[in-house]
């Protein structure tokens, strides 16, 4: 007698799914245990122990203090589960079994795919669920259930993306070893490929802005679908959603290709090393590209980007990488001869790409759009005087629309092209001991045809390059960057007056009428200010007015101010001798005496000659005197030799007075000495700048003894490494 059972397709599919999950249960179980031990349990213990404020400040995010490491999970788990789920495709006997079953191939694919995905997500749920409950109980941030679910879903999506890519590679590889090798190879190649491409283009094309977008913001290492989860942990990373969506689209395409490959030729290549597969070909050509770029850049770096040497590096590097990948994938060199045809095509393509970039065959470097083409322009640069700069991380936020402003930006851009392109974009050897500091400038044109043209430069600020200052005095620029012009009088919090060495001289209690009067005076002075006055005041500044506004009053401009170097909502009006209206008003209100230099009160001046002590932040750009932006320093630090050499203190009141008389607060292009003045009773010292050309004789003489050329070529625009800057101490200065 025969007792037959009845089976529906759903039952069979369900059984196969459960069977596949069962095979992976070991990995899932171990992962849950490990992650519970590493993430969840410590998080819960810490959360229970922590006070509310501690919980908020230290535990912070939902994943706990070890949460930053959680990004490993969507990288590691898919590799295990993806390899194990599709292992049956890589062994002939297993493939025979599964492909002979009376199950449609898409069903077979998805039962294994979903089983692996389920097992991958399980540890995530184990980590997330208790942590989420704990956060909701303590809830110091007012986190909602919806936001928790959104975050969990986002993490699941990142895991889905990396898992799908692992499965895609698995479908198109013949063995488990190939699956693992190709997954690692492709994962590395994505980051290396992007990184080296950006580096190569940045080096070869003056003004290339991809570096700003990809390297600085995406980060080539993290611009990788396998490492996408890391981006979820970066606060305010505005690229994470575009990246997530882009990689999600890529994952869907890979999933469709995987289904196609699985259904069409799923098991034929099981265990057969040596055939051509989509993944192998991708790996071979991408590997050749990355290898070529790597060696080309390495050799080019040693020979000042010599085209000949770079081409040799390109061909040699690509050949080595291509040959290695071919040999590893075939497990022999027997196809070496045959594969050379493919290499020849690769080499020709690489040479063509190299030529386009190295010799700028597309005219990238000199392209400046005409005024008629431009609808608006955005700009981002860092470090010009008291203007609020838009530090939008390579994505300029300060948008200018008036013809005058657009023309000023075009002039700046043209000036940058004319000065930087002939010298290959590398104006100064500031990486290796030079004292010139380059500023980053990003210009982004929004063209009338809807396209955007963006360029990024690094330019040493010198007096012979007046385009920055010309832009800074354009009314629209001022209107959009100057706090005193941005806000209505009734939205200001305070007006504080500081003297030239940063001592708070007075808190100006001004009624609305007086506030309006002061702002009007400042506006008049600024309107009549020439670029030269703005950039190179003829005499030291007399002091400054620090104004603060409520953040809510700043509206859209808040983003500009938040992201500038000041990191605050303050605005600083440096009072130069040409601020006649402002000075007259201060005199009228009796505040003019507060600006007197407190020569008798300054105990000591510390001099730093290098001009590089703040790295890229020197020469000084102005921030509010009581800010924390590094242009004030603690006296304790000065006394401990925080400037990296013997104390260069100057105690002689006459010498101090001489230094004070040529110290400036407001500088854009000047290079010089940084001087910190310590006032009686102060805990911090204000740092000002003395241009080399205006340095007192005793300083110059001391420098002459040390063969420092202060007449300098800084002002002639020649490379900084011609200037020798030996150590100097206060003692030697006095001697």
């Amino acid at each position: 007698m025969t007792t037959k059972i009845s089976l529906s397709n759903q039952q069979r599919t369900g059984f196969l799914f459960r069977h596949a999950v069962k095979r992976l249960k070991g990995v899932g179980f171990i992962s849950c245990i490990v992650y519970l031990a590493v993430f969840t349990i410590p998080f819960i213990i810490r959360s229970v122990q922590a006070q509310e404020e501690y919980f908020a400040s230290e535990v912070g995010k939902i994943y706990g203090f070890t949460g930053a490491l959680l990004f490993i999970l969507p990288v590691v788990m898919p590799l295990f589960t993806g390899v194990m789920s599709f292992q049956f495709m890589h062994q002939a006997d297993r493939a025979d079994l599964y492909y002979s079953l009376p199950v449609r191939r898409p069903t077979l694919f998805f039962t294994h795919f979903l089983a692996g995905l389920t097992v991958s997500i399980l540890p995530l749920l184990v980590i997330y669920l208790p942590s989420a409950v704990m956060v909701l109980i303590k809830n110091p941030f007012g986190i909602t259930l919806v936001s928790l679910l959104t975050e969990f879903l986002t993490l699941c999506l990142t895991l889905f993306i990396s898992y799908t890519l692992v499965c895609f590679i698995g479908v198109f590889t013949p063995t488990v070893l190939d699956h693992v090798l190709y997954t690692g190879g492709i994962g590395a190649a994505i980051s290396l490929g992007i990184g080296y491409t950006v580096q190569a283009l940045s080096q070869m094309l003056v003004g290339f802005s991809g570096g700003a977008l990809l390297l600085r913001n995406f980060g080539s290492l993290w611009c990788n679908p396998f490492l996408l989860s890391y981006r979820i942990f970066i606060d305010n990373d505005r690229y994470r959603w575009p990246l997530l969506l882009s990689f999600l689209a890529l994952a869907v395409v890979c999933l469709l290709l995987s289904v196609f490959g699985f259904c069409r030729h799923g098991c034929e290549r099981a265990g057969r090393v040596g055939g051509r597969t989509l993944v192998k070909e991708i790996c071979k050509y991408v590997g050749a590209y990355v290898g070529g770029l790597l060696l080309s850049l390495a050799l080019g770096g040693m020979t000042d980007l010599s085209p000949g040497v770079m081409i040799v590096g390109l061909l040699l590097g690509s050949f080595i990488a291509y040959t290695i990948i071919e040999a590893v994938s075939m497990r022999s060199f027997r196809t070496f001869g045959r594969s050379m045809k493919g290499y020849a095509v690769t080499a020709v393509c690489l040479l063509a790409l190299f030529s386009v970039a190295r010799f700028d065959l597309m005219g990238y470097q000199n392209r400046v759009p005409s005024t008629q083409q431009i609808a608006s322009v955005s700009i981002d640069y860092f470090g010009v005087s008291d203007t609020h700069v838009s530090h939008g991380e390579g994505n300029p936020r300060l948008t200018l629309e008036t013809p005058e402003a657009i023309e000023a930006v075009r002039n700046l851009h043209t000036g940058l092209v004319e000065s930087l392109v002939p010298m290959g974009g590398r104006e100064a050897d500031y990486y290796f001991g030079g004292t010139e500091i380059a500023k980053t400038v990003t210009v982004s044109y929004h063209l009338k045809n809807g396209l955007t043209l963006q360029r990024r430069y690094e330019k040493v600020m010198r007096a012979d390059f007046p385009y920055f200052e010309a832009l800074c005095v354009v009314p629209e620029f001022r209107q959009k960057t100057d706090l005193s012009a941005m806000v209505e009088p009734n939205r200001f919090n305070s007006f504080q007056l500081y003297n030239a060495v940063g001592q708070k001289a007075a808190l100006m209690n001004l009624d609305l009428e007086k506030q309006a009067e002061l702002l009007d005076a400042i506006a008049k002075d600024r309107a009549s200010e020439t670029p030269q006055q703005f950039a190179r005041p003829q005499s030291p500044s007399l002091g400054s007015i620090v104004i603060t506004a409520t953040p809510s009053a700043l509206g859209e401009n808040l983003a500009l101010l938040q992201k500038n170097g000041l990191n605050s909502y303050h605005g600083v009006v440096v009072i130069g001798t040409h601020y006649e209206n402002t000075l007259a008003l201060l005199k009228k209100w009796g505040f003019d005496q507060n600006l007197d230099l407190p020569s008798g009160q300054v105990k000591v001046a510390y001099v730093d000659y290098s001009g590089t002590m703040f790295g890229q932040e020197t020469p000084l750009f102005l921030s509010e005197p009581n800010g924390d932006n590094g242009y004030r320093t603690s006296i304790g630090m000065l006394e401990e030799g925080a400037w990296g050499k013997e104390p260069s203190s100057i105690l002689n009141p006459e010498e101090i007075q001489a230094l004070l008389s040529c110290s400036y607060q407001q500088y854009t292009n000047e290079q010089g000495y940084v001087v910190a003045y310590v006032v009686e009773g102060a805990t911090e010292a204000q740092m000002l700048l003395i241009p080399y050309e205006k340095a007192p004789e005793f300083l110059k003489k001391a420098l002459d003894n040390y063969e420092v050329d202060v007449t300098s070529s800084y002002y002639e625009g020649t490379p900084a490494d011609t200037v020798k800057t030996p150590p100097i101490t206060a003692q030697t200065i006095r001697e």
Binding site: T3, L7, F15, A95, D96
Partner: protein
């Protein structure tokens, strides 16, 4: 009925099966024979729906097999090296297949386990190759497929088990009209079991016949003549082999015995004896005819 229609399969540059067309009748035991690498296993995998044909198709009762679950429910393949997960025992296997094949019968399974005295709880991978094969045969027969594909499935089975399995297969064919397609290098086995055979070489079909009819097509005679036999004595008859030892002459010809006797009588044979021809001999002769080196064939 299984129909292979212009089936072609290529791996890289190697064409494993080349325009193979043949038909396997329902309720027959079909032997697929060929030299090493002739494409037998590839053909079998295409019949089972494991490999996708590059060209052509396989149909079962006019329904395409590839990626059609209803057709594949009727087919079970026992591969040369069946995959069994480490630690799995016969019960696990039965449990798995019972959820996959609607024809799976626990009664048959019980009966077969008793017949072959199989240990059900012991991991199958600890068994010998023969027992592992037997385990798969038990599972296959428990699934009650309409078509059973056996790739070198008798390898490793001892003589007693082999005989029992053959008996079982014949019984299933007789009772349930099951169709068996078997490949083996052991042609005695195929000869004993099959009623139809097909020989393939380099992926191409060389011949396909009912086994009895095939044997009737060939004749081997031993004879002797006083005078040497003239060269044109057998004109018009396809002589596959002719060996002389003194006056003794052994002939293998592609003709009937009566026709040959008729042609030889005029030359006054001292004796004429019809010797039985084995499938192996037919196979070897056919392979030699297509230029296959005899020494390369393994049995």
């Amino acid at each position: 009925m299984i129909a292979l229609d212009h089936l072609t399969k290529t791996f890289g540059r190697e064409r494993a099966v080349d325009d193979l067309t043949l038909t396997v009748k329902e309720g027959s035991i079909f032997g697929l024979i060929g030299s090493n690498g002739s494409g037998k296993s590839t053909a079998l995998r295409m019949i089972a729906g494991i490999y996708a044909p590059d060209r052509g198709q396989v149909t079962l009762s006019d329904a395409p097999v590839f990626d059609h679950e209803r057709a594949k429910e009727q087919i079970f393949i026992i591969c040369d090296q069946p995959f069994i997960q480490a630690g799995e025992n016969l019960e696990d296997l039965a449990h798995f297949y019972s959820h996959i094949y609607p024809g799976f019968s626990w009664d048959d399974y019980e009966e077969l386990c008793q017949v072959f005295d199989m240990e059900r709880k012991k991991p199958i991978n600890t068994f010998s190759k023969g027992i592992r094969k037997l385990a798969m045969i038990i599972i296959a027969l428990s699934c009650n497929p309409q078509v059973l594909l056996m790739d070198e499935s008798f390898d490793g089975l001892d003589m007693v088990v082999r005989a029992a399995v053959k008996k079982l297969l014949i019984d299933r064919v007789a009772r349930q009209e099951m169709t068996v397609v078997a490949t083996s290098h052991n042609l005695y086995e195929i000869e004993e079991l099959c009623d139809h055979v097909a020989i393939i070489h380099k992926g191409r079909l060389i011949l396909e016949r009912d086994l009895d009819a095939l044997k009737e097509e060939f004749v081997r005679v031993q004879t002797a003549f006083r005078e040497p036999l003239p060269d044109d004595a057998l004109a018009g008859i396809e002589v596959i082999s002719r060996e002389s030892r003194g006056s003794l002459l052994t002939l293998i010809v592609k003709a009937g015995f009566s026709e040959l006797k008729e042609r030889l009588e005029p030359y006054g044979p001292l004796f004429l004896e019809n010797l039985p021809l084995t499938l192996e001999e037919i196979f070897i002769k056919e392979m030699e005819a297509v230029g296959y080196d005899y020494k390369n064939i393994t049995f």
